[in-house]
């Protein structure tokens, strides 16, 4: 374990575990990272992983299933592959943890084991969404079903730090999702949040609307967890619908089939651009450690992308950035009479 950076892996989480996890990790030879893989040792060891992947396997007995009661899942969860992987970040042994397991349980265990960053009450789920002119960090995508002004401001601060880390640039544009770009429009929550952000977050540029998800003109889109989750799933649903219509159109006549065959190479490049696996990896941000969620149905390509996403975040001092902005925001919360 001489490697400088260590990532803890939940070997058993997700629909395609442990195969997708192990095959995904097999792509990281000589990466400079060391992986601690938690799970059923006998199963994990049959899935051979090349020697040039720095790793070890740690056996865990407990399995948490999705039909368990919340309380027993939480109690047992601490001893599961997911819980022990999080624990290794809490103990300082690893700097990040990745799991494709149940999001709700992952968030709950991570909050209990790692605790939140000082000054942050509510962690958020953040992910990168592609658009015509660039990608945007979006949060909260569903960690919270209700949010207040303080939470929203915190999301903006965390989103800014994430965008700087992931996009490797200092000048980022942070925007707030609203139902109109004029100042008078929107909910009280959004209007109040905007007022505070204007005062101290230099990267704040104002409102965007739902169609900005396809544009990609800003680097961060901040929203409450309810709206963010609906928007994320609406993007997925719309994309699936259009792709299915495209497929049926291209299979609808002989001429169309020949055309599709000739255009195949270009169409498969398009498929790659749209491939959700390439955008796999969401961070549960606001916790004392880098906690990355990989999609529940990730295959090895998806899982490998979640690993790359994690490395990107680890290579930047994201926590210092968050703390610095939280400090700046405090004064403005006081002014607005908002409890910190």
């Amino acid at each position: 374990m001489s490697a400088s950076k260590v990532i803890a892996i939940d070997g058993m989480g997700g629909d395609n575990a442990p195969e997708a996890v192990m095959k995904g990790l097999a792509r990281f030879a000589a990466s400079g990272y060391y992986f601690i893989i938690f799970g059923d040792k006998s199963r994990l060891e049959t899935l051979q992983i090349p020697d040039d992947i720095s790793h070890e396997i740690r056996h865990t007995e407990v399995v948490v299933t999705s039909d368990m009661e919340v309380m027993s899942a939480l109690r047992l969860g601490k001893k599961s592959s997911m819980g022990l992987a999080i624990q290794s970040v809490a103990s300082g042994e690893a700097q990040a943890v990745i799991s494709s397991g149940n999001t709700g349980l992952y968030m709950a265990l991570a909050k209990i084991i790692l605790k939140t960053v000082e000054g942050i009450d509510r962690p958020a789920i953040a992910s990168v969404i592609p658009g015509k002119n660039g990608r945007a960090v979006c949060l909260d995508l569903g960690a919270n079903s209700e949010s207040d002004v303080k939470n929203m401001v915190d999301f903006a601060i965390m989103g800014e730090a994430l965008a700087r880390s992931i996009f490797h640039k200092e000048n980022v544009k942070v925007a707030l999702l609203n139902i109109g770009s004029e100042e008078v429009k929107g909910s009280r929550l959004v209007k109040k949040t905007s007022e505070i952000l204007k005062k101290f977050l230099d990267s704040y540029v104002g409102f965007v609307e739902g169609d900005d998800f396809g544009k990609g003109d800003v680097d961060v889109i901040v929203t409450d967890g309810f709206t963010g989750n609906v928007a994320l799933k609406t993007i997925e649903g719309t994309a699936k619908y259009i792709v299915s219509e495209l497929k049926s159109a291209l299979g609808s006549s002989l001429l169309a089939k020949i055309g599709a065959f000739l255009a195949m190479s270009s169409l498969s490049k398009l498929k790659d651009t749209m491939d959700p696996r390439l955008y796999n990896g969401a961070i549960l941000v606001g916790l004392r450690g880098v906690v990355v969620k990989s999609h529940g149905n990730s295959d090895e390509i998806g899982f490998a992308n979640a690993v790359r996403f994690t490395m990107d975040i680890l290579n930047n001092n994201i926590f210092d950035r968050i703390s610095e902005q939280l400090e700046k925001s405090k004064l403005h919360y006081l002014e607005e009479g908002i409890n910190q």
Copy 2:
């Protein structure tokens, strides 16, 4: 004016008015409908409309522009082509009004002039959204930036009546948009609304998530105006993004261009399926009269679809259906301690 059904038309609303309006109406020869077109008579008369379209033109002097102050827009608005068209529904002369003008002003004027249906506090914007397995009436798409439980239940009642009218079937499925399909998930607003709907709305089937917009498995999707507006614009943005990526993929090589040429007939059928003009027409529901909003940048095809949408609604006794369900819901509001 012997025709049985009369539609009032704002001849001046929208980016392409009055041309798009007049050309759109020219498609409705011998429709059984009579159109009263409000606007600048000299301009409207130069745009020849065939004699077999039953219509008359009524001159209006006042023009409302989008850079006016709210109060003066409202005051002047009553005398504008939009306001006088709404007025003709209030007086009973017309049964419906269509405008491509500013949504906020249209809603404000319609509320002042027509008033809401008894028992409904807040009108909603509803529209039909396509999906793989069918279309769904969705509301509220942005008339309200905040909603309470009573408003949400009203949206469900109005959505049910609309779906029955537009889809010509009695057995419709009404669903509530949430961030998970399990009962424990979601905001307090959504959970409380679901409890009440379960008690009296037989067509209520429970929660759907954002990706149901692409599926089309339910007939009505109910949500608050903030979330609904974000979802609608997210669909538009995602569709635009994918289409632009598809176009650039099909133009990226000679082979792809030839392929696209061969598949052109099928691809243009796809384009038709996706054409937002074919889904043009949103209803401001909850008002004492059928008030239809056509998209601000509608061309003649879009405007004609808004007219067809209006006729579909007029052919059904939508207001009786709403009143009947409102009556049933009253008891349950009382039980839950919600003010009607």
